[in-house]
Symmetry: C2
Subunit: 329 residues, 2 copies
DNA sequence: TTGTATGCGTTATCAG
DNA sequence: CTGATAACGCATACAA
């Protein structure tokens, strides 16, 4: 494009219209210009097919109106949803999104942060599990689901409340022996609190419960073993299960069915996230729904706020329960 | 960031290191520099925390190493997969991706094309259903699944072959009365050929078949009506169904089950795309798998090829059948 | 090999 | 209200 057949510049337009360079700039930026001049310039722009060059503008103003968003990938439906809503929230504010896929890779994350700074982004939003990520001090930085320090705002769903709600809901639906299963990063992060809320509710209600928490990468067979270890005479010890994510919940439902158990008749299952099949159809399982849109809004408005100093360091947004076929209703 | 506390520039580094501006540039770009000078510069860069400013470089060189990718959204799992692989293919070539979500909106598409040009991108890859999109002549442009003209390369799966394969496969698996259902854009595009391939195979095999093709946005109830119209004494007229996409296939499977039919015992179902639940688990339905990675590779290598003139105008990549639980196997 | 100087396209500050 | 001109940060052709 511009590289081959060098594109017309403001100088070209000025020459074509018979006005000064500055006047063209003023027309392009919608500043006060005499009607006569304005039309002359606009006609010249049409004739030449002029398009303004953003690098010139950025170089001069230092303003990119761009936010980098660092996320593992877009394959995971929850991440896809997040990307979607972050983009909408940014567009609303006339901002572009520089999307960076970390693929859960530590080095990629730091490279992308560097790249973002080279591109003069106005801020960075990141969802990362990297325990020792160095956060640049000179660019507004907001994280999702992961608390670094009070100087780095973190936006997250009310994970504790969600866990609490799941246990309460299972009880309401008739469950009397609960189980929690999850796989997660070794780093303590906000989603870890799902367990805490669950345990807290169980203790409060005086319900028996068990917990199995595996590290990311642990073989799924360990969950299967956990379940079969709790089978007696074709009956599972649990009548209600809460899973760390919808994905795990979905996998567990398959496993339970293979074991000859009926969901939700024999075991009720609640996941976490609020994933729908194909992104738009029914919920995959009964679940605690993350307020993705609100999370995105909070991230964007926080990262763009002029004074990061008087912004809360942890923004915790309410979740809710939704029926998705794996509970009685 | 750089906006607040203006970041160090090459001039600052040069001053700090006691060398000339050009020397710093040469060090940064990895050109031949005397060892002594080189270390002096590198130390200065460290001390100042210098990061090069990409707008300066772009303005000077005209080279962005960026490709714009225009796609409806990231919610649809197939699009998510595409984004994933396009990004990988670009990274491999040291290119960045400028991701643009059209949300199926005509105006957004043209705006994004304009934006891409303003950002001096080296090329554009687009998946669009806009019938009358104006394709800029001065920037390499590659489309996915949609043929515009011989001067605009189009990359697509072998949709005709996929439809043909689906019909053949259903026959092999014992089906003797086939049905095809799809919903799609009114614009004739590559995916439209899925039907043609299917019909072609049916005719060739002398199999009875029926086709229902609705426009995008048509209510799903029309498909339900189509199915119930073909029920006689609790039996469906079809024993094999081929659907335009995995999403539709999945929905139809739910509907069939609600109608009291067993899949695959009573009706076998094949979809198109190759979607996995949560992006990484099992296939959602038996399906014709799109070669997403190859499509992404083809798009990227085509859009980056220096001489677009001697590039094929339609790149058609082979598909394959995969079992996903909705066929007998 | 290193230093110097110019220009990429734009905005902003001055004069007129 | 408009015209001329100086930066912005960088790569590079040319001079030393």
């Amino acid at each position: 494009m511009q590289k081959e057949k060098n594109a017309p510049t403001m100088a070209d337009v000025a020459r074509e219209a018979g006005v000064a360079l500055g006047t063209v700039s003023r027309v392009v930026n919608g500043l006060q210009v005499g009607d006569e001049f304005k039309t002359k310039v606009e006609e010249a722009i049409q004739r030449l097919g002029y398009q303004y060059n953003s690098s010139g503008r950025i170089l001069r103003t230092g303003n990119t109106n761009t936010i980098a968003f660092i996320i593992p990938n877009t394959i995971n439906p929850y991440f896809a949803l997040l990307v979607h809503h972050i983009n909408i929230a940014l567009e609303k504010r006339n901002c572009k999104m520089l999307l960076c896929f970390s693929e859960y890779d530590k080095n990629r994350e730091t490279e992308y942060i560097q790249m973002a700074r080279q591109n003069q982004v106005d801020g960075i939003i990141a969802l990362t599990y990297n325990p020792d990520l160095t956060i640049p001090a000179d660019v507004p930085f907001v994280t999702i689901d992961r608390f670094f320090s009070v100087s780095v705002p973190c936006v997250a769903a009310d994970n504790f409340g969600g866990g609490y709600l799941a246990a309460k809901k299972l009880y309401e639906l008739g469950c009397r022996h609960l189980g929690f299963m999850r796989t997660g990063s070794t780093v303590t992060n906000e989603p870890s609190k799902r367990k805490d809320g669950f345990v807290s509710a169980c203790v409060e209600m005086g319900l028996p419960f068990e917990v199995i928490a595996l590290e990311d990468g642990a073989p799924y067979t360990e969950f299967e073993k956990f379940l079969s270890d709790h089978m007696k005479n074709g009956k599972l010890a649990f009548d209600g299960l809460f899973l760390g994510t919808d994905m795990l919940a979905w996998m567990i439902v398959q496993t339970l069915k293979k074991m000859g158990l009926r969901v939700p008749e024999d075991v009720q299952v609640i996941g976490f996230d609020g994933i729908r099949s194909f992104g738009v159809l029914d919920l995959v399982v009964s679940t605690i729904v993350q307020p993705v849109q609100e999370i995105a809004e909070a991230c964007v408005s926080t990262v763009l706020s002029k004074h990061l100093s008087n912004v809360p360091s942890l923004i915790c947004l309410p979740v809710k329960y939704a029926y998705g076929g794996t509970t009685k209703e």
